[in-house]
Each structure stands twice: as structure tokens, then as C-alpha cells.
Symmetry: C2
Subunit: 395 residues, 2 copies
Amino acid sequence: MSHKIDREKHKTFAADRADGRYVNTRGFVHNLLRDLYNKKPKLAFDPQFSREEFLEWQAKIRTKTQEIMNPPDVPPQPRPKLLNRAERDGYVLEKWEIYPQPQYVLSILVLVPEGVSATNPAPAVLCFPGSKGTKEILAGEGKPEDNKHYAKNRMAMFYAQSGIVSVAVDNPGFGETADTGYAAGARELLSLYLLKMGWHYWGLATFNATRILNWMKTLDVIRPDRIALSGHSAGVGAMTSLAILNPDIRALVYNDSLCDGLRRAIVTTKPDEDGNRPLPSNMLRNLIPDELKWYGNVDLRAALAPRYVIYTEGGNQEDLDLVKRAYQIMDAEDKLKIYHHDQFRNPGQRHYDYVFIPEGLSPKEYLEYINCDSENHYFHADVAVPWIKKVLTHR
Amino acid sequence: MSHKIDREKHKTFAADRADGRYVNTRGFVHNLLRDLYNKKPKLAFDPQFSREEFLEWQAKIRTKTQEIMNPPDVPPQPRPKLLNRAERDGYVLEKWEIYPQPQYVLSILVLVPEGVSATNPAPAVLCFPGSKGTKEILAGEGKPEDNKHYAKNRMAMFYAQSGIVSVAVDNPGFGETADTGYAAGARELLSLYLLKMGWHYWGLATFNATRILNWMKTLDVIRPDRIALSGHSAGVGAMTSLAILNPDIRALVYNDSLCDGLRRAIVTTKPDEDGNRPLPSNMLRNLIPDELKWYGNVDLRAALAPRYVIYTEGGNQEDLDLVKRAYQIMDAEDKLKIYHHDQFRNPGQRHYDYVFIPEGLSPKEYLEYINCDSENHYFHADVAVPWIKKVLTHR
């Protein structure tokens, strides 16, 4: 059957009736999304907050995040175990095994710079790979063909070479932790079963990271009050939850473009010529049921003020401004650093700043509104590493 | 890349380590499923229940289902509106519009048999189509090419021709309520957004059906204490929730094979030669987060005792026995009627009754264990219609 549709005509949802009611179920659901966007989630950041209101709200965000991430109660587990150690250029590479809960084991890579020891502990960064990244890629232990931007994405290696202890983890169900078969489908499937049992993929990832973080704090080579998180792309989700739940995390590196996820869902509706609307990739992996009712990703970023945060790939200017506003409220504007992609470095190059984002966009059209240079979506060591070094070591 | 895997070797999940821990995240999650199956969901039916314990448990199931289905609070809506009426062979076909909540409208078909009137009201059946069914197919208003078993699936028409008022509905996002494009993807997408907002596809379907049911009870041509539900295939999910929530529903027709969904997930793990394991279809549409922790589909069926229930396509014998046990506890075995597919009518033809179902099956292999004749999966009017007529009219 090849009856093509008029893409322009169907690119948005309208009721087509005088009483404003939708026959198309998707149109009705889309309207629920619009309602939520207009009325705001229950714990949305309010740029009018006083400092006191901000702090109260921030505590509520933390409590709700704890609830949503739903960490299981687990019995005591064995201490992590060192599997092997190897010399590298400027640091020692260690592979450890960690036991987050019964019947489960993770391995992680720990990169300890030369000269760091129990008598000379260093700051540390816990590194989160993107969707197609692994701990081996982060640590520079992979091969160029493992990743589109392999050389650039050796995040943990760059930190170690600058004198910071770095820890590299896998996303659940990828790399060493993968099942047979095509990884995207396999991760969708394991996410499905977690969801049916009342958990979710990023809940599992956040729980694992919590266990790793807690262990890092016990290591004598690490200064526990100088721990940062650094995430690339899909890795920023678990990183954000982890930071919300652990106020002692000192700094965060966001290697991703910031944009409000709810607005993105509302505006990217343009169908292809067969009438199929854009399906977000990894729908089950990225699903945290009920979350949108409470807050969006921009709210969580605002709730990190006044901690040290750097954005290396900018994003939508209006959303970045909301985050900036949180730092103004907390009188900490100097702790937030925002870099855009090179081609959008100057405001004059960002044609879509403060432009109303209409419904009916294709995913590609949408990326223009958020200043995203998807071809150059890789770890920006040039800005991230010196900054993190500075904020973890000064004073 | 074509490195084929050994399907037999990878068909189940095993820890491959002396300490029983999984490196493969999917293996770990699979083990959580096994744990849940072994320990049972919190509100699992217990065949040892006394009558009193059964009734207490049944009340808990109802309360939890109300919570899980999470119906929204909606302001008063306009009364349903008759759109048109047409004479058919033995009944009158009416199309009505109903307004379940703001910005939303559904249309339904109501089939009123000849001779039924306010002074001579009749029993009624609310009919639920399968995944690829529509209200028009149920009412015999479609075309043969609309459905693989069009002639057989005219469920609402058969009921009307036997003197029962029947009401036919669409599944959300299909038939008249569909979006542009391929319906499966579109329904996955609308399910995703409902989930993100704290609801789900079958919650929406159940809510719609509740509104329709409540309205049916007000019609003077219907005997409100003689209302049944009849569902084909995917339609049985919303039908079950509706019956759990409305104890005044008198009878149910299950036109589907019964099998425990959790066990199905556990055993159907055999990958294809590329290593991809079977992905259940419509993963987002069928996802009700957290539900598995509380109960499975067999528990819900047991909770319907002692209401009149007929199964027209049998299922797994062990699961059917659990349902039978509930009727024994309630001293109502005569109210439960179980038919198998023709080719499995005699126990001697059912080679897999009471056979342990191993892990590592393909979906096709699994169907043998539940006596499912998927080629003949259509509405079995021959057994369902006379039975429902009897239980709705006697006394």
C-alpha cells in the first residue's frame, strides 16, 4: 500500500471540531502533553524563587528523585576486588569488580595518575559513556573502529593524564555487560522487564553508579570531597540523578546539548511521507514512568545550583537561561560555565536563540533550534579537562 | 557483520561464574524475573485460600487494580449523542458519540435487536476487539479484507442477532481513532507519552470502557443487572480490569488462550541466529509499570470467581486449573466453562498438559505448551453466543 500523505498538512495535531475534542487518540494524548507543558510539572523550577524558596524546592526535588529512582534494599555485598593492574602512559590502569546487589557483578576501570598515592591523594572523576560508548573507549583501551569519535571520546584517559583519578563505567547492557544480539533491542527488552517489575533502566544505572561512588569515597588515593561526574550524551541522565542524590558531588561536566525533553516531544511531530511520526530511539530505555508529571530535565539541572557545572555543547538558549537563573538565585554565577559547539560560539551564529519553537518539526529541524551540531557530538576535552582540574583542585 | 551465534548454546541465561553473579545485564534482569516467579507477586492467588481468605484477597485485588488503572478525575461531560441510526437484518445499528474526558471524543456502535424497547429491555454485551480489530469489524460493518477472519469476528453482530443488545468499541489509536502512519508504531508512541505522564494504554482503554459501561446502565433498552463483556485477543486486558472494577458485570467471554504472562517472559528467550531474542510485540502498549510485582493475568482471572466466565480458546492447563480452583473455593464450578481450540478438544490431544515448560523456547515453541492454535484465533460464536444468552437470560 503506497498512499502517501501530505506531510505539511499532518505535521501538527488539531481537533478539527468546533468543540475542540480529538477523535485521533494520539492527538488527545498530544494535547495532554501540551497541557502539562503549559501548566508545568508539579516540581518545576520557578525563576521567581527567592533563595529560601529555591532551597526548599531543591530538597523536594531530591526527595522525589530518591522515590523515582527507587533503589532496592540489598543485603551487604562483598568488597570490590582488584582484577588486574597495568602501566600506561602517565597513569596506572586498574580493572575492578564490584558487586552492587546479589547475582550481579560489574567491572569498572580505574585510572590512577602517576604520583598519586595514599599520602598524596587526588581529586577524582566518575565518567559515564554515551549510548554507544564503553568503559574501554572512555579509558582509551578500545580500538578506533569502536566509536565514531574514538580518539576524542577517551574521556577517562584525558582526566587521568591531567592528574585526576578517573573511573570509567559501562551503561547497563552494553559493552562487557551486553547480551547476545543487537544491543539496542536487547537493552529495550531488559528495560521492559525492569519496568514491569517497578524499576527502570536509568534507575538501575543510577543505583550501580551510587555503589561505585560510595566505594570511590573509601579509596585512599581519592579525596572524597573532590569528586566530580562527567557524562557524554545518554550518560548524562544517570549522572544527573546521582548528583541530585549526592549533594557532596563537587562538580559536573555535561557533554551534551541541553533542551527540555517535554517541549521536544511536543514539537517533533512531522510524519514521513508514509505518515509515520518520529519515534524517539530507545523508548523503553529512556522511560521513567510518571517522571514528567513531577519535573523535566531542565528542572533537574537548575536544582544542581550552586555546584560547579560546565556545559560543553550548549543547547537551547532559553533552557540554559533557566539554569543560569538558578545560579543567580544562589549567587553563584561564576560556578556555571557554558560553552557552545564551535560553530555556535558567538551569539550571532545562533539564529534560533529565543525563537518560538513551533510544533510540526522533524527531528533534524528541531536540532537547529537547540544549536546542536550533531556531527561534532564528542567529548570536548579542550574545555572540560582544564576546567574540572581547576574546580577540583583550587583552595 | 555476520558472525552467527549458536542458538542452542545461548537460548537460556546462566551466570557462568562460581558465585552465581551475572555480567550480562539481561541475565541479571532475567534472574529478577525468575525470583519474582518463584516468590510470587505480592497479591498472587493462593489455591489454598479458604472462602473467607479468597473474599479478602479479592477485595485487595480490586483496590490495587483501581490504583494501577489510575483513572483521572474529570469534570462532568456532556451526555452521549446519537449520530445516526440504520436498519440492519434483525437489529438496528446506532452510532453514538461519547465524551469520556475533556478534549476527547469516542464513537461507539450500539446494536439493538428487533423487539427490544424500553418496555422490553434486554441483556447487553460490551464487545472488545483484538489488536487489529475495530468496532466496525465487530458490528459486521467492515469489509472482508479488513481482517484475517472478518466473517468470524463479527462478534457484536452475532450477539445482536441472538437478541442481546451489543456495544462495539475501538481500541485507542486504531480504526476511527488512529493517527497517520503505521498503527503499531503510532500506538507505541502514544503509549510512551501516557507512560511518561504516569498513565498507560490499558489504563486509558479501561477508563473509556468504564464511561461506556456506566452509560449503558442508564439506557432503558438494557437490563443493567444483565451486562456481560466479551473480548477477543488483545481486547481481554481492558475487559478484565473493567470486570475487576465493576463487580456488577454478570459474565465474561474470553476469546483468547490463557497463559501466565510472567512465565511466558521467562521461557521465551531463544535468540535468532544473529543473537536477537524475541521482542514481544507492542511492548509499550502492553506495559503497565509495576503491575507484575502485584499480580499476573492468571491471578486476575481467578479473582473473577464466582462470576460467569467462558474461555473459548483454552490455554495452559495448569493456569486454567488455577482459575478452576478459585471457582471451587467459591463453590461455583458450574459458572466457569472452558473450551479448547478444536484440535485440542480432548485431553489426549493436548500433549503439553502439566508438562514443565523449560526456558529457552522460541515464541512458536512456547505456543505448543499453551495449546494455542494461532491459525484459528478468531471469535468462536458457536460456543460463546448460546452460553452468554443462557447466563444473561435465565432466572
